[in-house]
């Protein structure tokens, strides 16, 4: 099986991907400052680099042909990071960023707190209830395998989400059905909504849990674009028989100093003053990185 030629996004360099991730975070802050309700900004910022690496590098998708059978499927199982996905997709040409900012969360908007495929074509699945994405991915991967299609099915989950038993049912089903066309990505930000994960649930030894279920485990720094791109480049062929999990070590609130690893910033909104502080923090960090 050979992969069809990726669309132009695959040509992005690490530097340009990093610039896109900065743009994505800046736009997230803007929305967090304009929308009156709470935005899941902590978990959005922890997956921003991952979503850029997917929508602007790894995923073979085409905004002009959202129903193409050959497209890679992406399931945002941690549906509360929807707005981060919407913006990453808008930056790729799927949607209008202005529409997102202007209508997010409002009556009759397609851009809601959790993604709805019916209201927003281009999104693969309606998600939001945690632990539902990976079973859906197993179904899509089985379908692809049966039809001899060479695309992959990616699922992004939070580490906290993997406390849901249905995730492990799907982990077993994926391995049992030898679905090497499945890629799970874990946003390992080590925080639940109300606590630091390990204080409530013993996740460690976390990668070993996946290994014990027979998956191919790849561990990366989820904010290091080079590592993310390498992990994507080195994925086994979709025709292989072992599913892969990329465990991406991340920081909830990444890029904004007062949000990082701060339980108060699972979700929230930014007043004018905080928005300026957040922007300043994001910029100084970005300049530090690029210096």
């Amino acid at each position: 099986m050979s992969r069809s030629t990726p669309t132009t996004a695959g040509a992005n360099s690490v530097e340009s991907l990093e610039a896109l991730a900065f743009e994505l975070r800046s736009k997230l802050l803007e929305l967090c400052g304009t929308y009156e309700g709470a935005v899941h900004i902590g978990g959005d910022l922890s997956v921003a680099d991952i979503l850029v690496a997917l929508y602007h590098y790894g995923l073979n998708v085409d905004p002009a042909d959202i129903a193409s059978p050959e497209r890679d499927r992406f399931i945002l199982s941690k549906g509360h990071a929807a707005v981060c996905m919407y913006i990453a997709m808008a930056m790729r040409g799927f949607f209008s960023y202005d529409d997102i900012v202007d209508t997010y969360g409002q009556l009759d908007s397609a851009y809601g707190m959790h993604p709805c495929k019916v209201q927003l074509p281009g999104v693969e699945c309606s998600t939001g209830s945690l632990g539902h994405g990976l079973p859906l991915a197993v179904g899509m991967a089985l379908s692809a395998r049966h039809r001899g299609e060479a695309h992959r099915v990616f699922t992004l989950m939070g580490d906290g989400e993997t406390g849901e038993g249905s995730v492990w049912e799907a982990v077993m089903a994926a391995r049992s059905n030898e679905l090497g066309n499945m890629v799970a990505i874990i946003d390992r930000n080590r925080q639940l909504m109300t606590s630091f994960a390990e204080e409530r649930v013993v996740f460690e030894p976390y990668p070993d849990k996946w290994r014990a279920f027979g998956w191919n485990v790849v561990e990366v720094d989820g904010h290091d674009m080079t590592e993310l791109v390498t992990a994507i480049d080195e994925l086994p062929e979709p025709s292989s028989r072992i599913p892969t999990v990329i465990i991406a070590e991340t920081v909830k609130g990444k890029g904004v100093d007062f949000m990082e690893r701060n339980l108060a910033w699972h979700a929230g909104s930014l007043g004018a003053e905080d928005l300026e502080k957040a922007r300043a923090s994001l910029s100084s960090g970005h300049q530090g990185e690029t210096a």
């Binding site: 859906l136 179904g139 899509m140 991967a141 089985l142 249905s166 799907a170 049992s176």
Partner: protein, 320 residues
Amino acid sequence: MPVTFTFGEMLSARSVIGTTLAELGESHDNLWVLTPDIGATLVEFREKYPERFVDVGLAEQVCVGVAAGLAYDGNIPVVSGMLPFLSMRALEQIRTDVCYPNLPVKIIGTHGGLVGNGGSTHYAVEDLALMCSLTNMTVTSIGDPMMVGEILRQSMSMSGPLYIRLAVGKSDKVIYEAGQHDVEIGKGIVARDGDDVTLFTHGTTVSQALDVADELAADGKSVRVVDLFTLKPIDEELIVRCVDETGGRVVVLEDHVAYGGLASRVADVVADRGLKLTAFERLGIPQVYAGFGDDEELRDKHGYGHKATVEAIRRVLGTG
């Protein structure tokens, strides 16, 4: 075919399901069959189309989730299993992964009602209430094993989800002669005509209702038996007509909790349409965990067996 537990007593319904799925698998190359370790009815399909048969083992949630994933990709998945577990363990997957995006997943299963003698863990007695509450879901409960095949065939062209409830009855009666009634999802069947009272029912109690009508006919009572095998969407016009034509006298009989199932569906129509009733009785499972016993014993014990149904109709007719 090895037979374990009580499934062997459902042989005719099982063979209808098996044969029908195998037949549909041939005409629909996007038909998949999934099960959480309840595969006995599915051997024929599994052998003919092993690549479209998925047994996930004991894992109802992923079973329904996988079905939804397949349906997202243009396939027609049929999930077959035991309803107490599918309807409750996987309820959220059915609601959120199947009904929310309105996917053509069929859920078909056994052990609807106090059947099979497994005890309350193994009786699906709240399932119709749960399923009827789900937006986009079509809900059926089938008594005649031969009807199952027809419903499955019709379901191939449905764009949304479908729930098919079966019993595991020892009296696995073929209720209708072939061609006797037009079977159409959404339309009730007047299984026996009558003028004095309408007995609405579904599923395994249809044959009991017909026996009751026979017994009362000997007394000169004319009982209309209506098989409302589609609970959602309910056949409102048939209910309106029956209430009118049988003097506003209504009895509802079902192997389901007495509040939340068909009786409640009928009562909703009566209220919404402002129908005038002379008498109304509901016969079904009371608010108890029913215990063990065979199907007939349990219905008798819990007040909706044959004798209790006869008595209820006599009361409604003012002759009790």
